[in-house]
Symmetry: D3
Subunit: 173 residues, 6 copies
């Protein structure tokens, strides 16, 4: 039987418990999930503090601790391309063959639909609670950001000193 794969695109700045639910939900529907780490070239900004490599490490350790089978997961960084209409082809180049895309984002959905892919639209998964922008703000303010993030992901983020980086980026010059 053919292996079914779904792409999960995101920036994962940072990977949080909502994302974790999304990955688990996807693995109930396909054989393998391809987590596409978008805007891979970005880092060291308030919007995108982590490098692609740091995000890969944080996601992987998080998934592993939560018992997700890493053999069913691909973690693939994809840099931005400044041409929406070629973005799907660009993503396709970087990842193994796939049939589905998991996303609620209108642009992602329209681009993959026009390219002939099926969309797996997931439920919103407490999206008021798990919001990456808010979590980055909590890091800056020194609030309890770790509650919103898988335990081992949080450990990696601390070890990499991402909250410290965010605080420094907030300083006035």
């Amino acid at each position: 039987m053919k292996v079914l794969r779904a792409v999960i695109p995101g920036r994962f700045q940072p990977f949080h418990k909502g994302h974790l639910q999304l990955v688990k939900w996807t693995l109930e529907r396909v054989n393998e999930a391809i987590i596409v780490i978008g805007s891979a070239q970005e880092s060291h900004t308030l919007q995108n503090p982590m490098t692609a490599g740091e995000r890969i490490l944080a996601i992987r350790k998080g998934l592993e601790c939560e018992g997700v089978d890493l053999k069913r997961i691909y973690l693939i960084p994809v840099p931005d391309i400044l041409m929406n209409s070629a973005w799907v082809a660009h993503v396709k180049t970087y990842v193994p063959p796939f049939q589905y895309v998991v996303s609620r984002n209108p642009l992602v959905k329209i681009l993959f639909e026009e390219a002939g892919y099926s969309i797996l639209e997931p439920p919103p998964f407490d999206r008021e609670k798990y919001v990456a922008t808010n979590i980055r703000l909590m890091m800056i303010k020194g609030e309890e950001w770790k509650n919103y993030i898988p335990r081992c992901t949080a450990e990696v983020i601390e070890e990499l000193k991402i909250p410290h980086r965010l605080k420094k980026l907030m300083e006035r010059d």
Copy 2:
């Protein structure tokens, strides 16, 4: 204890038994190996027939069948940057923190050395026998290329019809 990681850069067009030996040799020396799939943007040429995503799939299935612990492996595509002196920083962006580079390539060694990394120089591993250029030629001529490639990598390559793609690229217009 700190996790030791080594980067193994290559184009892997295709991943062959020499590469497999290299990965095993590396895993005897560090905790985790980061296979950097270089020239990730290239595909559909005689030199670089496979896309980055196809190479990821082929390497991963090959490693898995050979009993390599995938939890100790990162497979990360990195596109070319047209500036040698920024290449190490570029690779660093895409991968988790690492201490070593596994390579015999003079340019790779000089660039990582100047950036302060330690080089792990592997033995040549039958390099007269396992040569990607020759393997691609065998694919074109219909010769026994599968002997030179890990079994499950070869299966993926067949399923993806890479020899067929190479043959078509060789046709006269």
Copy 3:
């Protein structure tokens, strides 16, 4: 006698009746008009919904129905270049030799003037009425956008389902 040509730069998202007047006005002054479709790499956003190819089709069919002689028209897509001071040279590369630029845009005028071209500054042509941003908004709201657009351009836009694309891009994720 030397053929006189004028460049008309714009994004044409979408081409409207104000643009049509501009083209006709230009053809009264030169032999051939070169419509430069700028930001050619952009599409699938609220600001730039149409691809360059879709814009070419929509403009051409619009001009044809309105009786404009296509033999006197060039429709040429030009992608952005991230360097204002090289933009004129960039445009020159993509288009046949020309002597004039038709524009009221301050940046366009300053760049072409510094490069030694003559500016043909057109009258404003009901510019309160024909505003591309408003027309895109009407498409989203389902209002009477077709009144503002040449008839056959509107037909192409409907056939390409651009209003539908815009509505989808407006959805919440």
Copy 4:
């Protein structure tokens, strides 16, 4: 009835009588032909002497004199993208919707086939006789290049002084 369109990709350095036959052959099979002027960013080299804009002018005037109906022709410059697997999506962005590709080039055929397009493979049309490389050489040597090129295309090329440019590029420094 749906309008049938075919893409004819080439560099057209320069457009010759073989290309003219190709366009005519295409117009017998579809309603509209889209001539894609590839490597649009290239010029002023021995391989690619003409700019995209110069090529557009030369092709258009050539077609017009030969009685080809310009209303059925699109002339669209497309710059190179350094990623074969995204090239078809890139071309699609720049051109109106199409169903066919006219080409004998193996890479072009494989890329469009993988993207789901039908290939119209034309006959070779005296390809020993009409070879762009040879025609450029004749220009350099001052030989009878005009026999190989549509009459009005040749006139444009002379007016643009392309043979002179080629000769200057051949000078020793």
Copy 5:
């Protein structure tokens, strides 16, 4: 003895008396100052009116008139790179070997610190008074911008007609 060098990154739109103090302060601490003219590709906008070459000329003539020893100064334009984590390596490519970075900018400091450089943090030097944004506004309004700028820098800026360029960019289309 080893030559000590410090990099001073900025956009210098325009170079003002605060910048001049910064250069002098730096020359009291190292042998040679490398003025890195960032966003070198930008020009002809309200934020970045001057080209890199114009900025080089304006800074150099300003420093010379103020008695700064040009033999101790490097003026080097560096275009943007869209990858923060590779920016330091990018800057290193363009400039002679250096040990220090002179900056109060949080992003600049964090990036150079992570790359192992020492930061020389200068005092704020009347930064309420010398603000490039305000000086550009004064140019637009025709106010007394010359008081804020080294005398010969101001002369170059006038000769290059930068205030005129800014005013034209502010016009309505």
Copy 6:
């Protein structure tokens, strides 16, 4: 009186005594010479071993020792642009206003001529003797390369260990 400036484009891999003669020859004809260090993004190859910053340092120290007045010299790195027809505009962005170009290179001459600049064609200056390619070869072979290079340029090149870098790049992997 207007300041006369001439651009001297080159790669300067490395700067040799022929280049020195060229600079002196230029300074007899104009007020200021702008040395454009082309292919600025290149380094660490056999063709282009030095970074732009290393070349700037080597040229400057060489000129200074030879008594050239640095106040009349600009040393400006310019990265490649992949579009010949926009190259002159690209160079113009990076350098102060100029009237002349000093070059014997056919492509450089044709591009600047088409852009309306005057060419100052220098004599060949022992060009059989001073050939950058040969000098790099001498560095690799350990031969007497220093005879061909201004004394202080040679000192910088030694301090930067460029011959060592070249030798390492020549090693077999």
